[in-house]
Each structure stands twice: as structure tokens, then as C-alpha cells.
């Protein structure tokens, strides 16, 4: 047992904590969209992939400063979110939930393939290397720390926005009762559009954090997509606090499982845990009975 509690395990746990922060941010946008519009964007991670390419091209090819590229990515993916809502989600808003899932599955295939056509299948690296923070023998990459901090800040800001502004209140109201709010004078379609923009923007922000740590390639969405919506479902779809907790559970399973065995087994554990939890608590860890 002594070797089990070694310093590397602690490092894995801390890295898992930081990874959890990023996952939580990714889940946040998806959860917001689901909570308000009641649609799962299966293609959420592909929007993120577009954001990562935006940062890469603006920074590495056109030489813009990193922060300008980040801002552009957030705005662009936010706009993509709105576009997605208008072109794809709106026409199926009243059809079966499974059709809404499938239609965004089509967008997933489309974006991934279009990115392959446009950018090629090569892995592209931003080439920005950040040092690591050394605490004793533990090394934590600054990119991960920055990502986790940004994620927590973004969550705080979103919470303030939802609680303190008029439109935030309207968003929360409509997620509680879709049928009544239009009668109260809330323009549902405008709220949906705003929510899609924020959801897309959060995907864009996630892209900025991921591009610092991972190479961009057209299939990167498949590495993060399933993880993201499993985090959301595990937390109770639409339940942001639940998603937050679930993100950390998932990240720990993957990192510690990956440390003890191998990365793939970490994923097997995480997905297996998800399946088991679906049977035990289908409404999510914090979800109420529906």
C-alpha cells in the first residue's frame, strides 16, 4: 500500500482536479443549452474543434496576438451556436427528442468532415509552451492551472449573469416552464437564440483552454464530445451544479485510472461508471425525480 500513496498518485489526483475544471466548463455550455432549449447538442465538441482551429489559424498563420485569437474564437463559435439554432434546431424544435439528437449528430459528421476537407488531417500544434508549476516533486502545467481557473471564473460569471440580469432571469424562468413564460411576455425565440450564443461562446472558451494543451485535428471532438455529454447526463441534464460535480468525478476516474493502469482503462472505468450510474440514478446525481 505504501507505494500506492506515492507522490505520482498525488500528481495524478491534482491533474485530475485541473482536468475536472476544464470538463466542468465544457459541460456548462451544453447543460445551459439543454436546460433552456431541451436539446442535446451532440456536435458541441465539434463547435469547440472549430474554435481551436480559429485560434490556431489566427495566431499561427495570421500572426495575431493570442488573446485577440481567443476573443475571436469565442465570438465566432458563439455566432456558430446561433447559426446552429436557427438553421438546424429551430425546424425540429417540436419534433421527437430523438430527432433533435440525430440532427445534431448530422452536424457532428458534417463539421468533422468539412474540417478534414478544409484543414487536412494533420495534428496542428499551437506551439505556445507554458512552463510547469513545481510544488516539491509535483509538476503541474500552467496551461492546466490557467484552464481550471478560467473555467471556475467563467462559471462564476455565468451564475451572476443568470441571477442578476433580466435576460438571465428570463432564461432561468423559461427553463422551468416552457409553456407559461411566453404568456408572461417573454420572447421565447429570442431567449433561445441568446442561450445558443452563450452556449456556443462557452464552447469557444473551452476551445481556447484546450488548444493550449492539445493538438488540433478534425477528430478531436470525438475525444471530448462523449465525455462532455456523459458528464452532463451524469450530473442530471440541465443541472449545472450536478454537471460540475460529475466533471470532477469523471476527471478523477480517468486520471487516477490512467495512472494506475493505462489511459484507455481510465476511460473504460469512466464510461462503465456512467452506464452503472444511469441504472442507479437515471435522473443524475443531483437530479430530482421527474
Amino acid at each position: 500500500m505504501a507505494q500506492f500513496f506515492d507522490i505520482f498518485l498525488l500528481e495524478a489526483v491534482l491533474n485530475g482536479l485541473l482536468f475536472g475544471g476544464v470538463l466542468a466548463l465544457l459541460a456548462l455550455g451544453l447543460n445551459l443549452v439543454f436546460g433552456v432549449i431541451d436539446v442535446v447538442w451532440i456536435c458541441y465538441a465539434e463547435l469547440m474543434m472549430i474554435g481551436m482551429y480559429t485560434v490556431y489559424y489566427l495566431h499561427n498563420i495570421y500572426g495575431l496576438p493570442l488573446f485577440v485569437a481567443f476573443g475571436a474564437a469565442v465570438v465566432l463559435v458563439g455566432a456558430l451556436g446561433m447559426l446552429l439554432h436557427v438553421l438546424v434546431i429551430r425546424p425540429v424544435l417540436n419534433s421527437e427528442p430523438i430527432n433533435q439528437l440525430l440532427v445534431t449528430g448530422g452536424v457532428l459528421t458534417f463539421l468533422q468532415a468539412a474540417a478534414t476537407l478544409a484543414f487536412g488531417i494533420e495534428f496542428k500544434n499551437l506551439g505556445v509552451s507554458m512552463p510547469s508549476l513545481l510544488v516539491g516533486e509535483i509538476s503541474l502545467p500552467w496551461s492546466r492551472i490557467a484552464a481550471a481557473l478560467t473555467a471556475v471564473t467563467a462559471m462564476g460569471l455565468l451564475w451572476l449573469f443568470l441571477k442578476k440580469t433580466y435576460i438571465g432571469t428570463a432564461i432561468r424562468a423559461i427553463s422551468q416552464d416552457r409553456a407559461i413564460m411566453p404568456l408572461m411576455g417573454v420572447d421565447a425565440s429570442r431567449i433561445y437564440l441568446t442561450t445558443s450564443a452563450i452556449g456556443g461562446g462557452l464552447a469557444g472558451l473551452g476551445a481556447c483552454l484546450l488548444v493550449l494543451q492539445y493538438d488540433v485535428h478534425p477528430a478531436i471532438g470525438l475525444s471530448f464530445g462523449p465525455l462532455t455529454f456523459m458528464v452532463c447526463v451524469l450530473g442530471g441534464l440541465g443541472n449545472m451544479l450536478g454537471g460540475f460535480i460529475a466533471a470532477f468525478i469523471f476527471a478523477q476516474l480517468i486520471n487516477v485510472g490512467g495512472f494506475v493502469w493505462s489511459t484507455e482503462w481510465g476511460y473504460v472505468m469512466a464510461f462503465g461508471f456512467f452506464i452503472v450510474m444511469m441504472f442507479v440514478r437515471p435522473q443524475g446525481i443531483l437530479g430530482g425525480k421527474s
Binding site: 449528430g105 452536424v107 468533422q112 478534414t116 464510461f271
Partner: protein, 334 residues
């Protein structure tokens, strides 16, 4: 299925096709059409009743990998390997299906659970890279050397025509299973369940058992299709048999063809494969991405404008309001 002579004629025409076609390329495309048609048909056995699975590549992967692993490491003939793989797929289907149906996990929650299943199977294949070859894939040990052109025990044939007949037989078997289910009480039970679970239960339908039955049949057939796919291609890797991409491809093709009519999945397979091949011939190169780009776009358009698929739409135009003959039961997939 009333005009039987038409069917007999069509099957006979298909059966003599390899004697007329000498091009290996055309034969190859036809074999693939049959194998995929079979798998799509298997998926639709569930899909038509509202059980939309994003996890069928898991069963396909099990079919392909178990047979190949048993052959490569234990020298077990695919004739024994296939039943084992199919049994394992059935076991997995029960393992995942029973709790899902027992705890009323339906709609997109069911889709997400099955999606997780795909990821589990794919990750396990990659994680066991010492035996499975990981993402690089694996080739069944070939016995086709030193002049040997075929081996029945190894289920390996150099002649594509043999696979043509195997695949044709499998496809017909798939259609037969579809018809058996279509004419059984199970179909009525499942139709009731897919529309109103509680009401179906209240009139005495054992909901869990009905769902589990179609799921197990569907999983078994999919594993069978995966096994033949592996034997035919003589090369499998997680991306081509056990990935989310494959799961989505299955769903897309079926939606394009139409999942509520018997030949709908086949239409989907024909349509998608012909599109891919046509693009390959006309444009060449960079092809993988271009056909998927079009698929993705069309999937979106199909769901928005033509949810019953190509064949479903055509058949509805031909004979409106003939619900009893297995035509499109509902306007939209549930």
C-alpha cells in the same frame, strides 16, 4: 410480400449476377452493399420501434474482433468463433438492455447509454493493444498462401464470388428475420410499447421482455454482420468496426433509406455506398472527407424534411393509408 414471383425473380437475378460481372471492383461494392444492408436491417429491427441505439458498432466490433482473436490466438475456426461472438454480443445486449428497459431509460437517454457502450468497447479494444493491435488494427492469420485459394474452415476465400453468395445469403436471412418479426405478436407489442409504454403494459404486454427480445436479436445479427465483414475485409481496426463514427453511419444510412419499411435499410446502404463510390470515381483523393461532409449535411436535411427516408417516402406515395401491410407506420421516427 404478396407478389412472390417477383421476389423469386429478383433473387435469381441477384444470384446469377456474379456470373455476368467479371469486375472485382463491382463485386466488391456489391458484397459491401449486402453486408452493410444486413447490419442496417439489424439496427432497424430496434430503430423502427423507437429504440434508437448509438451503440451498434459495439456489437459489430465484438463480432469482428472475437472471431479474429479466437482464430489468431487459439486457431479456432470462425465456424465456432462466430457462435461464440454472437453469444457474447447477446450477453452484452442483455447486460445493457435489461437495466435500461427495467428502469425505463428511453429516448435520448437510451441513445446516450448505448453511445457510452460504443466507447467502452472501443476503449477496451485499444487498451488491449498487445493482443488486438490497438488502433493499428489486426489482420486474421491468412491461410491463403502457397497456391491455396480457399479454406472453408478458416472462412477465407480469394474469390470474391464466394463472399458475394455468403453476403447475399446473410442479407436474405436478415430480411427473413425482419418479416418474421413484422408478422409476429412481438411487432404489435413493440408498436404499442413505442407509442405508449404504460398503456401497453396495462393491456398485458411484458414491456421489458418485448424490448429485450428485439434488442438481443438485433445485437446478434449485428455481431454476425461484423464477423463476416472482418472475414471479408481481412483487416479490422477499432475505427472501422467499433467507433462512434460507425454507429453514426449506421443511423444515418438507415434514416436516409427509411427504417419503417423492410427494404429501407437496404436502400440506405445502396444509396450511401453508391454515393461514396461515385464520389471516389469522379473526384478521387480526399474522398473520405467529402462523402462524410455530404452525408452529414444530408442527415440534417433528411431529418428535417424527410424523416421516413427515401423508400418510406416513395412507398407512402404509392399506396397511401395501408397501415396493415407493413408500410410506414408513423410519420416520424420516435
Amino acid at each position: 410480400m404478396k407478389p412472390r414471383p417477383a421476389w423469386a425473380f429478383a433473387i435469381a437475378a441477384l444470384a446469377i449476377l456474379p456470373l455476368l460481372v467479371s469486375s472485382n471492383y463491382l463485386l466488391h461494392v456489391m458484397v459491401l452493399v449486402f453486408i452493410w444492408s444486413f447490419i442496417y436491417t439489424a439496427w432497424s429491427l430496434m430503430g423502427r420501434f423507437g429504440l434508437v441505439s448509438f451503440g451498434h458498432s459495439a456489437f459489430m466490433g465484438i463480432g469482428a474482433y472475437v472471431v479474429t482473436m479466437l482464430w489468431n490466438f487459439h486457431g479456432l475456426s470462425p465456424w465456432l468463433g462466430i457462435p461464440i461472438a454472437v453469444a457474447l454480443a447477446c450477453g452484452l445486449a442483455v447486460l445493457i438492455g435489461y437495466p435500461c428497459f427495467r428502469f425505463r431509460i428511453t429516448g435520448h437517454y437510451f441513445a446516450l447509454v448505448t453511445l457510452a457502450l460504443t466507447e467502452v468497447v472501443r476503449s477496451v479494444i485499444v487498451a488491449l493493444r498487445d493482443t488486438t493491435g490497438g488502433s493499428l488494427g489486426v489482420t486474421p492469420n491468412s491461410v491463403l498462401k502457397d497456391g491455396t485459394t480457399w479454406s472453408l474452415t478458416a472462412l477465407q476465400f480469394a474469390d470474391k464470388r464466394v463472399f458475394f453468395y455468403l453476403a447475399l445469403g446473410l442479407w436474405l436471412f436478415g430480411l427473413w428475420v425482419w418479416q418474421r418479426i413484422d408478422r409476429s405478436m412481438l411487432r404489435y407489442a413493440m408498436e404499442a410499447v413505442s407509442q405508449e409504454e404504460d398503456a401497453a403494459a396495462s393491456v398485458g404486454v411484458n414491456v421489458t421482455r418485448a424490448k429485450l427480445t428485439v434488442t438481443v436479436i438485433s445485437a446478434a445479427l449485428t455481431a454476425l454482420g461484423g464477423a463476416l465483414y472482418g472475414q471479408y475485409q481481412q483487416y479490422i481496426n477499432p475505427e472501422t468496426v467499433a467507433s462512434i463514427g460507425v454507429s453514426l453511419q449506421i443511423v444515418f444510412a438507415v434514416i436516409a433509406g427509411g427504417m419503417f419499411v423492410r427494404l429501407g435499410p437496404t436502400t440506405g446502404a445502396l444509396f450511401t455506398l453508391l454515393l461514396t463510390e461515385a464520389l471516389r470515381v469522379t473526384i478521387g483523393n480526399k474522398i473520405n472527407a467529402l462523402d462524410s461532409t455530404i452525408y452529414g449535411l444530408m442527415l440534417v436535411l433528411f431529418i428535417i424534411y424527410m424523416p421516413t427516408g427515401i423508400l418510406g417516402r416513395l412507398m407512402r406515395k404509392k399506396k397511401p393509408a395501408d397501415g396493415a401491410s407493413g408500410g410506414p407506420a408513423r410519420p416520424a421516427p420516435a
